[in-house]
Symmetry: C2
Subunit: 105 residues, 2 copies
DNA sequence: AGCAAGTGCAATCATGAGGTTGCAGTAAAC
DNA sequence: GTTTACTGCAACCTCATGATTGCACTTGCT
């Protein structure tokens, strides 16, 4: 069971503000400035969060004229979910094995 | 799409040391002291991590004599994976809808 | 060309998190 | 009943991070 680059993704998802950003982007692609209008944080704070999200592939930038809009990469969320699922299944398997031993089978 | 208590779980999973602990616990239940023998961190550091993991339900304590062993709760990992999967699917759905509009259907 | 809107970079600040050391408490073991 | 091992609490340190302000730079728009 190799966690690979999985941990940074979880770290990125472990922040409420970033989820707010992701949720806002769910309404449609938006720039850092646009997001700053909706969320109670500065544009620069949002820019940093977007950088983090981009770093782990959860979001990607799209230049539109002079602004840079960001789009959620749903595939990365799904991929992360699948990897986590695999790890969870692995533990379930182990626990089942232990349980069988405990029950004297 | 309500994230609920999901974010703290991701925050907990966003640390390499905690994954080391989870991996070590995968070999069998163990106490903080026992884990301190295998990992390059202090027992107290491990105790804190275990507290965090317990807080979000990823691990649970089991008293055995005078020691407190910890066990991985595989179900919580699976549940988290499922919730994340649902969120990822939601985004996939939205992206698909947008794509259809873009293609003029 | 000039203005406005948007982005990018840098310095700064505060708080929280990961980690350590030290000591007190507690419960088995002998 | 001591000793011995393990847990628990508290203080402390350091560094990363979330957030801010301020300014320079680019890029459309008119």
């Amino acid at each position: 069971m190799t966690t690979g680059t999985l941990v940074p993704v979880f770290a990125a998802l472990g922040d409420e503000t970033r989820w707010s950003i992701l949720a806002a982007l769910g309404e449609g692609d938006a720039s850092a400035s646009a997001l700053a209008g909706r969320l109670p944080v500065t544009r620069q704070a949002i820019a940093k969060h977007l950088a983090v999200l981009q770093e782990v592939g959860l979001v990607e930038p799209v230049r539109v004229g002079r602004e840079v809009r960001y789009r959620v990469v749903g595939a990365e969320l799904s991929a992360t979910a699948r990897r986590l699922e695999a790890i969870g299944a692995e533990w379930d398997r182990r626990l089942a094995a232990i349980k069988e031993i405990a029950e004297g089978l």
